[in-house]
Amino acid sequence: MSSTGKIVSIHSFRGGTGKSNTTANLAAQVALAGKRVGVVDTDIQSPGIHVLFGLDESKMGKTMNDFLHDKATIREIGLPIHELVGGAEGLSKLKNAHIWLFPSSIKGRDISQILKEGIDFNKLNEGLQTTITEFDLDYLFIDTHPGLNEETLLSIATSDILIIILRPDNQDLQGTSVTVDIARSLDVPNLLLMVNKALPKYDPVEIKKGIEEQFGAPVAGVLPLSFDIADNASSDLFSLRYPDHPWSQELRKVARAVLSLE
C-alpha cells in the first residue's frame, strides 16, 4: 500500500516573488498543524532554502542529486529540522513538530551534472513517492525553480497541489497565465494562487477578486509587501517569529487552504 501523502509544488514564473521564503514558512505552518512534512529543494540553480531553516552547508552530507543518481538512499538525505533547529525564537517552535529537509546539492559540479543529464519523470516521481513512504509524510513540499524549464514541468506534473506565487503586476500575471494553462493541461488536481509583495496602496480584496476572475482559480492569500521581512533577512522563519504580523496571518490562510484540500 502506497502512502497517501500529498505532493505540493510551489512555483513562480519569475524570480524575486519570495518563493523560497514562502515555501519554508508554509511547510513550517503545516508541520505546526501536526502534519508530517518534507521539503524538497529542487531549485537547484540557486539553493538556499536550507539557510531559512538555519542549516549551513556543513550539516549537509548527501543530497537529492545523489539520491536521483542512485548514489544514496533517501534515508541518508532527510535532515530532521525539528532536531537540528537551534535557539532562534521562531525556528525553535518546530522542536515538537515533524519536518525534514531534503537538500539539493550546492556544489556547482553536481548542479551542472543534473542540468546536463536531466531527470526522468518516472525516476523523480518514484523518488518523491519513496520519500513520502519512507518518512510517512502527509505533505511533501517542492520548492521549484522559477520559469517553465523541464525540471519544473516534471515537478508540476507530479503534484497533487500546485501553488503559484505571483506579485500583483502585469508581468507576473502574464507568466502565471501560461503556468495555469500548463497545470490544467497536465491535470494537476488542485491549483492555488498566492499573491505576495502586494503594495499597501492596493486593496487586497480587489486584488483577490481581480486575479480569481482572470484565472478561475482560488487566491488563497494576498500577502503584503513588508519591510519587516527584509529586516528579518534569513536569520529565522518570519511567520514563526512574528505570528501576529499581517504577512504571517495571511500566510496561515494559505496553509489552511492547503490543509483543507482532500
Binding site: P168, D181, S185, P189, P200, D203
Partner: protein, 246 residues
Amino acid sequence: MTTDVELIEQLKNIAIFSGLSDEALAAIAQHASKRKVAAGDVLMRKGDPGDSLFLIHEGWLKIVTVDSKGDELILNKCGPGEAIGEMALLDRGPRSAGAVALEDGEVLELSRATFENILDHRPDVALGIIRKYSTRLRFATTYIERAIDWAQKIAEGDYSFIDQSQSLVNAAGDDDSKAAQLLSAFFTMVRKVKEREDTLKRQLEKLTFEIDQTRRKQEFEEITSTEFYSNLKEQAKTLRLKRVQK
C-alpha cells in the same frame, strides 16, 4: 567585593569615562567613596542640584519622575555596574529624575568636588573626556544632519531614501547615543507614515490586470509542442490514474 579590575571595567562603561586609560580610571576609582544604601533611600530628587555620580555596586535602584497627577512614574530600573547622574560631574544643571533604592545595596559615589580636584592634577583625564565628547558630538551631528535631510525629503513626498537607508539605521543601532536612537526612531516613523499614506491612496488607485492572450497562447504552444512535453503529459496521465486507483 568588587576588585579594582572590575571597578575599572565598570567605570569604562560610563560614557564620559570611556575614552580614558586604565591608569586614569584607577586614579578616579581611588577617590570615589563607597556608601551603603537601604531599601527606600533616596539618592537624588528630581530638580535638586546635581553634585555627584553614583556607580551601583550591589542592589537595584528605580529612576522616577512624577506624572501630571503627581503620582510616581518609574522611568527605568538600574542595577550593578550601571551609573546614574554622570552629567552632574560636568555641568551644574538640576537632576532630570529621582533615584530611589529598591533594596539594600552599595553604591560608589564620586562628587563633583572630588572630580574637579582630580581634573586639577590630571589634564590627561580632562583631555580624554573632551575628546570623547567631541567624537560623540561629531557622530550626533551626522545623524541629525541625516534626519534633517530626510525631513525635507518627506515634506516633498519623496520616500525613496527608505530603501537605501536600512543599513545606515542598522549600523546606528550599535551606537547608544540619543542621536542614533533618534535617527532610528525617525526612520521607523517614516515607514509607518508611508504605510498609512499608501493605505489612504488605496481607495484612489485601482489595479488593472491585463493579459496579452495572443502571447499567452503562443508561449503555451511553444512549451507543449515539444516531444518532451507530450511524453510528460502521457506519463503524468498514467500516474494520476494509478494514484486514483490506490
